[in-house]
């Protein structure tokens, strides 16, 4: 912090012409199609104006025309990196409104799938964050491991990226017989790669210099902006829905809520947000191990449902902890088989809103890193 201030003061004496630069909508590191209008004073960012909507796919309009099971493919396509986690709050909400309890085996499979997908998501997040910093090799190491996770998910659901696997009242299909062993194998590989990347990238001096003390987000600002997930936890605030309001069967597992500690810089900087994701991968591995040990071997994976899913006139905001943070679906039923209104409380959308606040006064290269550390998915931002 001290460094930054002196830097600004020195430069503020020189009055130079401001330059407006357009970053995006198609830019190698805007993680999709975000457009940032940046005002630059030399290399220093003085103002950031995000322009969104380049991937506005009319999700909410579509859902009003779809029946409840038909909505799920569209929900997959919101946060397309962690589809399993997207489906979960939605089906949970519909199940609550219909008053269905799902079998225990389903809950376990859901937990394992969601955690596997969380790992896959964090791998992409850390990998692309490294890519933003200019390190290409860790990116490919992570994608190599992610491929193994996707193989498991594909064997179970049939899809590599968009699964349509969590259905109202259960699952689309039962898992394959070798599922448990494959999960345990892949966890080993994930841990090995994490250790490798920690040495190769995370504790690299250049990487620390680039990310520590950059994009500092204090916890109170984060809360006022409604941030959640690793962005909030990176600021040292341990809010995790899996722990704060345990849904499904998360109260049965022993895991830590990883928070940033300001190990190499100020609390709440880019490095902290990144290390939270690294830590969460390890915690997810732990949860998967416990879930596999406890999971019943046989059982139904689909609750009996009426032929047409109808929801009475009622509404709910159903939330779950997705890898990006607190993801919610506001479902309004009107007695028919189609929702009256389906609103997604998009985590990335809310986390992104903090970007103009925390990127002022840093350099343009830092802006890219701050954006990378927030880990947005434009499908969810624009819906």
């Amino acid at each position: 912090m001290a460094e930054k201030k002196t830097f600004e003061m020195e430069y503020s004496k020189v009055d130079t012409e401001r330059m407006r630069l357009n970053v995006g909508p198609q830019h190698p590191s805007t993680h999709g199609v975000l457009r940032l209008e940046v005002e630059l004073d030399g290399e220093i960012v003085t103002e950031v104006v995000p322009h969104m909507g380049y991937l506005h796919r009319c999700f909410e309009k579509h859902c009003e025309a779809m029946t409840y099971p038909q909505c799920i493919p569209y929900i997959d396509r919101l946060d397309y990196i962690s589809s399993m986690n997207n489906e979960w709050p939605y089906v949970m909400g519909v199940e609550k409104l219909m008053g269905i309890e799902v079998p225990e085996r389903v809950e376990y499979i859901r937990v394992i799938m969601a955690e596997l997908n969380r790992i896959a998501n964090h791998q992409i997040a850390v990998a692309t964050f490294g890519l933003d910093a200019g390190a290409f090799t860790p990116f490919l190491y992570y994608f190599r491991d992610r491929e193994e996770i996707l193989a498991i998910l594909e064997k179970a659901s049939g899809g590599r990226l968009l699964y349509n696997y969590f259905w109202v009242g259960g699952l689309a299909a039962d898992v394959h017989p070798t599922f448990k062993q494959e999960c345990l194998d892949v966890i080993k590989h994930i841990r090995a790669t994490n250790a490798e990347v920690t040495n190769l990238l995370i504790y690299n001096k250049i990487f620390i210099d680039r990310t520590a003390n950059v994009g500092i987000l204090p916890a109170d600002v984060a809360i006022n902006f409604g941030c959640s997930g690793p962005v909030l936890r990176g600021s040292g605030f341990p809010l995790d829905l899996r722990r704060a309001e345990p849904y499904s069967i998360y109260d049965r597992f022993d895991f830590n809520v990883v928070v940033g500690k300001g190990e190499v810089g100020t609390l709440g900087d880019c490095w902290d947000r990144n290390i939270v994701r690294m830590g969460e991968m390890e915690e997810s591995c732990k949860i998967i191990e416990q879930a596999i040990a406890q999971m019943p071997d046989t059982g139904d994976v689909q609750e009996k449902l009426p032929k047409k899913i109808r929801i009475p006139k009622s509404e709910i905001l159903s939330r779950a902890e997705s890898p990006k943070g607190d993801l919610g679906f506001y479902i309004v039923g009107n007695g028919t088989d189609k929702p009256e209104r389906l609103r997604c409380r998009a985590t990335s959308f809310i986390n992104l809103s903090v970007l103009p606040e925390i990127s002022k006064g840093y350099m343009i290269a830092d802006l890219i890193l701050i954006l990378g550390s927030i880990d947005i998915v434009l499908g969810e931002v624009d819906r």
Partner: protein, 197 residues
């Protein structure tokens, strides 16, 4: 000063650590699967191109109704009871069990350019007629090639079947009309007799 030297040491040391890792990877076994020559293993339930087994389809239209994308379009025609071909539906492919067909599927088109590969249609299909295959190699130079026509009926047979149905319907109608007329006559007769009485 101590910080200055530590910075230098950290810089050099962590770079060397990183270089060691990449050096190790240079001689590791490569994971690449060389696609056109080798194949990455695909599970059997992978969701790729849709395939209709026309023998098994009974034209119930439930796939078109469930499809969130509406990429399936079906047209059906009632089978006339006295059809000389005596068409049948394969109900159970494993045991080769056939049932009499009630509907001709005259048109079964899937637009693969729109399909979202969600597998909802394969789950609702009562006779497992529509299924995802593991075939993904069907990119094309023209978009029209992605519109798949699955029904095995030629346009001529469709026309003839339509004619047959129309004739049958006309016959039925005539029979109905005759029956109705007869009934009316009888009624009139009965009324006449009643009034006469």
């Amino acid at each position: 000063m101590a910080n200055y030297i530590k910075n230098m040491w950290d810089g050099v040391y962590t770079v060397l650590v990183g270089m060691k890792i990449t050096w190790k990877h240079m001689f590791m076994k490569k994971v690449t699967v060389q696609y056109p020559d080798e194949m990455y293993p695909i599970p059997k339930n992978a969701r790729n191109r849709l395939q209709l087994y026309a023998d098994q389809c009974n034209g119930c239209n439930s796939c078109a109704r469930i499809c969130p994308v509406n990429c399936i379009s079906i047209e059906t025609l009632r089978v006339t009871p006295n059809d000389p071909e005596n068409p049948k539906v394969l109900e159970d492919p494993e045991n080769d069990h056939w049932l009499p067909r009630k509907l001709w599927v005259t048109k079964y088109d899937i637009d693969m350019a729109k399909c979202c590969y969600c597998s909802l249609c394969t789950t609702v299909c009562p006779s497992a007629a529509i299924q995802h295959t593991t075939d993904f190699e069907y990119s094309s130079y023209f978009k029209e090639d992605l519109l798949y026509h699955f029904t095995a009926m030629t346009p001529e047979t469709v026309v003839s079947k339509k004619q047959m149905l129309e004739e049958h319907q006309a016959k039925e109608k005539a029979a109905k009309a005759a029956a109705a007329a007869k009934a009316a006559e009888e009624q009139a007769k009965a009324a006449a007799t009643a009034s006469a009485n």
